[in-house]
């Protein structure tokens, strides 16, 4: 049964997908009796129907998607697609079922409504109370998730009591280590910084979200063949990621330093969907004081130009990480090519991470490619053309980094006196004091 989209903002238009729940009939009956409050735009038989309706604009620009918490195939990607289509997603779960409530919140729905046990005798009352709850929830609808809202998995507002504690209470902070194309030393900076943070008695999580050249596992000498970040992303997509689950997926390098290794091969990048990573980073803030994420280089949004927003986005992992970051380290090589790439891309980074502090890290500083007194020249160049006020110069230490790479260890473990380590140690101190 489908009703043509109504004009005007008065009544919310509802896309209904309660599956086989008998409350759907009761809700429809209640809507018939009290017209004007909510109007059904479409009754969807399954998730595919619901996604198609939402993305086709059935129910207008800002429909309300009422889904059963146990709807088949409902996952984080689906909820993010609904949100990207402008829908306000409300999950209906059984009252007292904390697991279903937590799962719905983990999927990133905008709100949840709890209903009591179903009885045929109380159908009319149930329908009315469900309608009233929905109207109440929708009244709290804040600023709508616009069509470009590709990061819908923000903490779900708790409408109902009895929910579990919000595990993602914002405690920890996130550092995105990004760098332009080439090998400016993103992974080296990320590993060394995370290692130094953890050596300051700060719980640290190191993650590899590079979808082009993941290298974290090898740099740390990991023998693990599986990607722990992909495992966490799977949990997040199923709505099952909490702090404990994230800790189970992560691996302990040293007390205080956990690692989420990246995909084992670059062509497995679809295992890191943007919507799932947004949840991972949110939960990570509850697990670690500092989360250091090694990002990919590419910031382009080809898919959105060439196809549509529904297509899997390879750069989504990096874009999501930048959008979630509190601090972005833009790492560039200390040579003309690396510096030019860095400076040309810095405006894009600032636009993608408007809320973050962007710090420029010029890596592998040596006199060879830039001439005498490289520190002064590089500093002047970056400050003049890049407009950066915070620039960190990391001296080149080829021998020390080679030794660390050969041993599969961090600089602090192999070459404690390395000049590169000293520079990044200063950054760690600065971050912990900020």
């Amino acid at each position: 049964m489908s009703v043509g989209p109504a004009r005007g903002p008065a009544a919310g238009l509802v896309l209904l997908a309660l599956g086989a729940d008998p409350r759907e009939e009761a809700l429809l009956a209640a809507m018939d009796r009290s017209p004007g409050r909510l109007k059904v735009a479409r009754r969807c038989v399954d998730l595919a129907d619901l996604l198609a309706a939402a993305e086709a604009g059935v129910g207008g620009q800002r429909p309300v998607a009422v889904v059963s918490g146990s709807l088949a195939r409902l996952d984080g990607v689906a909820v993010s697609r609904l949100a990207a289509a402008g829908a306000f997603v409300v999950a209906v779960v059984d009252r007292g079922d904390d697991g279903a409530l937590a799962r719905a919140a983990g999927l990133g729905v905008a709100a949840t409504v709890a209903v009591g046990a179903w009885t045929a005798a109380g159908a009319a009352d149930d329908g009315h109370s469900l309608l009233a709850d929905l109207v109440g929830v929708i009244a709290h609808r804040g600023s709508p998730a616009g069509p470009g809202g590709s990061h819908p998995a923000r903490p779900a507002p708790k409408v109902d009591d009895g929910g579990s504690d919000d595990v993602a209470s914002v405690l920890g902070r996130l550092v995105a280590v990004w760098g332009p194309v080439g090998a400016p030393g993103r992974t080296t900076v990320a590993v060394t910084l995370a290692d130094e943070l953890s050596r300051r008695q700060v719980e640290t999580l190191l993650a590899d979200a590079d979808t082009y050249g993941p290298a974290l596992g090898q740099t740390l000498g990991s023998l693990d063949e599986a990607s722990s970040l992909a495992a966490a992303a799977r949990d997040a997509n199923a709505g099952a990621l909490d702090v404990e689950a994230l800790a189970r997926s992560a691996r302990l390098v040293r007390p205080g330093l956990r690692v989420l290794t990246g995909v084992t091969r670059p062509d497995r990048w679809p295992e890191l969907p943007a919507s799932a990573l947004a949840v991972v980073w949110r939960v990570a803030r509850g697990l670690a004081v500092w989360t250091v994420v090694d990002c990919g280089f590419c910031l382009e949004q080809d898919e959105e130009i060439a196809y549509d927003t529904v297509a899997p986005r390879r750069n989504g992992a990096t874009l999501t990480t930048l959008a979630a970051a509190d601090v972005v380290l833009a790492v560039g090589g200390a040579d003309p090519v690396g510096l030019q790439r860095l400076i040309r891309t810095l405006p894009d980074v600032r636009a993608l991470a408007p809320q973050a502090t962007v710090k420029v890290v010029v890596n592998q500083v040596r006199s060879g490619p830039v001439g005498r007194r490289p520190e002064r020249r590089l500093l002047e160049t970056v400050q003049r053309y890049g407009g950066a006020d915070s620039v960190l110069l990391v001296p080149a230490d080829r021998a020390g980094l080679d030794a660390a790479m050969a041993a599969g260890r961090t600089l602090a473990e192999v070459v404690p006196g390395s000049a590169a380590r000293t520079a990044l140690m200063a950054l760690a101190v600065e971050l912990t004091q900020s």
């Binding site: 405690l171 008695q201 719980e203 990991s222 023998l223 693990d224 691996r251 302990l252 697990l287 041993a407």
Partner: protein, 224 residues
């Protein structure tokens, strides 16, 4: 803040190999043990001994000479006690209790001391006319002795001998010890040879009686 709320499994990391690695020690132990075992097996495989063997077909009752036996390098293992080993016992001058084919090792049980053999066997010289013994009769041959009793054993035609003779087996399986050559090879039709036979002592009387009573034929199984 900062206390870990949940535990994570440890990351399995590449470790620099150490000399004290239990797997290395176990490997070295395995190599050493297999080397020692292999050396023992190879040493056992090469342990050979010298044993007497027959250099030609030897019949039972034959007293062995140095030409009858030869030395062989063989590895017998636990069976070495069953054969006549060089150095322990000298077969020359001893007597065979049973036949031994050419090339066979001499069983210790088949070689009797001469004194023991002498109690059981005797050597008897038997005269045999020309054409009544195998042409290649030689020492070591085994023959059956037939005796034909006849009133005139010599000079008769073959037809008469066939009708008048009554051949009987005097002794079976006698061993030729020696053949006495009567002349220098120009033996006439009457030329006979003396064949020394080694026979059981209890059969000597009947053999001697038979030889006295008639003519002797030596019959030999065809040699393969």
């Amino acid at each position: 803040m900062g206390a870990p709320v949940a535990s994570s499994p440890a990351l399995a990391r590449l470790a620099r190999p150490r000399w004290t690695d239990a797997r290395l020690l176990l490997g070295v132990l395995l190599v050493v043990a297999s080397l020692a075992t292999g050396a023992r097996v190879m040493a056992g495989a090469e342990r050979t001994g010298q044993v007497w063997a027959a250099s030609r077909d030897l019949a039972a009752g034959l007293q062995l000479t140095s030409a009858d036996v030869q030395v062989r390098e063989v590895r017998l293992g636990v069976a070495s006690g069953n054969y006549l080993t060089v150095g322990a016992q000298d077969p020359v001058g001893r007597v065979l209790a049973r036949p031994v084919s050419a090339g066979d090792l001499l069983p210790a049980a088949a070689v009797l001391p001469q004194a023991q053999a002498a109690q059981a066997r005797r050597q008897v010289t038997v005269p045999v006319s020309a054409f009544h013994y195998p042409p290649d009769l030689a020492r070591g041959a085994v023959v059956d002795v037939y005796v034909s009793t006849s009133s005139s054993p010599a000079g008769l035609s073959t037809g008469q001998a066939a009708s008048g003779g009554d051949p009987s087996l005097a002794i079976a399986g006698a061993v030729v010890v020696a053949v006495t050559d009567p002349g220098s090879g120009f033996a006439g039709p009457d030329a006979s040879v003396g064949v020394v036979l080694n026979v059981p002592a209890d059969q000597v009387p009947s053999l001697v009686a038979g030889v006295r009573a008639g003519a002797v034929d030596l019959v030999q199984e065809p040699q393969p």
